[in-house]
Amino acid sequence: MNKDTNFKRYLKLDLLPTPWCPGCGNGIVLKTICQAFDELDLPKNSTVVVSGIGCAGRSAGFFDLDSVHTAHGRAIPAAEGIKYANDALHVVVVSGDGDLIGIGGNHLFQAIRRNTNITVICYANEIYAMTGGQVSPITPHNTKTLTTPNGNPDHPADIQFLFKSNNCFFARTTAYHLNHMRKCIVEALKFKGFSFVEARTMCIVNYGRRLGYKNSNEMLLHYKEFYKINDYAEELAENEIGIIKSVPRSSDGFPSA
């Protein structure tokens, strides 16, 4: 195998194709995760992938290493159990925005508080795609979905500030910016502590086409035009992708008496 296809050793190629729709961006994220694994040469026998439920949750079964497909929203506590049980394992969570930020939102917040040394890759397609296209916690304001026919009345969650609260790693990237995504995942995997990569990925079938995109390529071009890379900034603006600079905590709370 040459260098470019070396990442395939992390995949169960005989199980392909994936169950995802034509034009889905999840495959790009899956491939980039494997490329990042390959770049760091993560040993297969010390790496475990954990996922929740949804389109992204199905990706765990395609890794050629031990993987756990947990209940909806519960990938992070299961991953924490694995990590605290065996610290030698690299534990990587792969799941969607609805799973991690919606139903599993409390676990995400608590994992940041505990600063568990695991990496979370969020396939952020801004929609509950597997169930047909309902509004998700990061669907933009005014966007029409199956459950917000008059436009999303809420504003999307900007979770980067949660990570700053405990000096954890946060990066936002997109399926268009392949090298950037790979860099974000590599840095997240190298980070000692809780790390999270929000990888924007396109869902054409249950999201984009209802917004007027003709195909997923148009959604990719939107990422290209809309997002600007701003690595190691204090914080990311709505149209910026990058790794946020972590700030050491100023206080450790009450001193003991």
Binding site: V48, R58, D66, V68, H69, R74, P77, G81, A85, N86
Partner: protein, 339 residues
């Protein structure tokens, strides 16, 4: 070995240590909290206080797959929260021990008082068909013994085993002899990191999800059912006391309430299931000797329906609703029913 005074919850933790517990995750809840209080002081046991019971059970699922014997402890409200992931653990075949120290429900109920309202939730709380092994001891020394049995049954069946207790026996102090000479079953499956297995709650075959293969699904559930029945047969625990006098009545009770049943041993034959589920088959033979079957339990007849179902005959039922176990009240109800 000398006798020592221990609380019920304390006995559970000592037994868990003997059985090889290495990982505990839980959330504070009365009347189960003493279990986590005891465990945090034990070396070689990793203890996590999680944000809720859902996180707790998922953390022990992860830890168990990673190779450690794992346990959580809770009461009714927390047990309700865990239900979805209990189904997951059955589907993924993860050995766990779940202690449920029952209190009065539904909802917040009466948090410190005992009840037996979670009996059916143990077997039907999660969606779909699954076949858990459930133990319900009635003394501190039995809590000790059956905690170890629960760990062994979990390892043998590769499934979550439920140890029921209640606010009464878990908070009871009794002298016990903490015996360490038990045959301890160890993990047969290699821990995470040993291969390319995929553990999933989807219907599956050999690590591959099969989301629309009906025949495979039926084979899977049938296999899980047979496995649970087979393992359960090695844990056929019950107590049967024949009456010294001639009696036509068998009085069935379990857990805290069965302690007061001994008071009536001169009037009734007594039967006490210790393995509540799957139901011990011997009850069929024992019940066939009696004209009347009388069940008392601290709920509105949850186990009564199960007994009726297995005996195919009518049984009489005395509800002693949760909170209080009063001898006079029970005496009155028992003899009213009889004459």
């Amino acid at each position: 070995m000398t006798k020592q005074l221990f609380q019920g919850n304390q006995a559970i933790t000592m037994a868990a240590e003997v059985a090889g517990l290495k990982f505990f995750a839980g959330y504070p809840i009365t009347p189960a909290s003493e279990i986590i209080h005891e465990l945090v002081n034990k070396k070689h046991i990793k203890v996590l206080q999680m944000e809720d019971e859902i996180a707790s059970i998922n953390a022990i699922i992860g830890a168990s797959l990673a190779g450690l014997k794992s346990m959580t402890a809770t009461s009714g409200p927390g047990f309700s929260l865990m239900q979805e992931s209990i189904g997951l653990a059955h589907m993924m075949e993860v050995p766990l021990v779940i202690v449920n120290v029952q209190r009065v429900g539904p909802s917040t109920g009466m948090p410190t008082l005992p009840a037996q309202g979670d009996v059916i939730q143990c077997i039907h709380g999660s969606h779909g068909d699954y076949f858990p092994i459930v133990f319900y001891p009635n003394s501190v020394s039995e809590l000790y013994k059956y905690t170890i049995m629960a760990f062994n049954a979990a390892e043998e069946s590769l499934s979550p085993v439920i140890l029921l207790s209640d606010g009464f026996i878990s908070h009871l102090y009794e002298t016990i002899i903490p015996d360490r000479n038990f045959d301890i079953k160890n993990r047969t499956r290699p821990p995470l990191g040993a291969g390319n297995r995929h553990f999933t709650g989807l219907s599956h075959e050999d690590s591959v999800p099969k989301t629309s293969d009906v025949d495979n699904y039926r084979r899977l559930i049938t296999r899980l059912h047979e496995k649970q029945q087979l393992t359960a047969q090695r844990y056929n625990y019950y107590e049967y006391l024949e009456c010294s006098k001639d009696t036509d009545t068998l009085l069935i009770s379990y857990g805290a309430l069965s302690r007061i049943a001994y008071y009536f041993k001169n009037d009734f034959a007594l039967y006490r299931p210790i393995r509540l589920f799957p139901i011990v088959e011997e009850i069929k033979i024992i019940a066939s000797r009696y004209k009347r079957i009388l069940i008392m339990e601290m709920n509105m007849g949850q186990y009564t329906h199960e007994i009726e179902r297995i005996l195919h005959r009518e049984v009489e039922f005395i509800p002693i609703l949760g909170g209080r176990i009063d001898l006079n009240e029970i005496k009155q109800k028992l003899y009213e029913q009889r004459y």
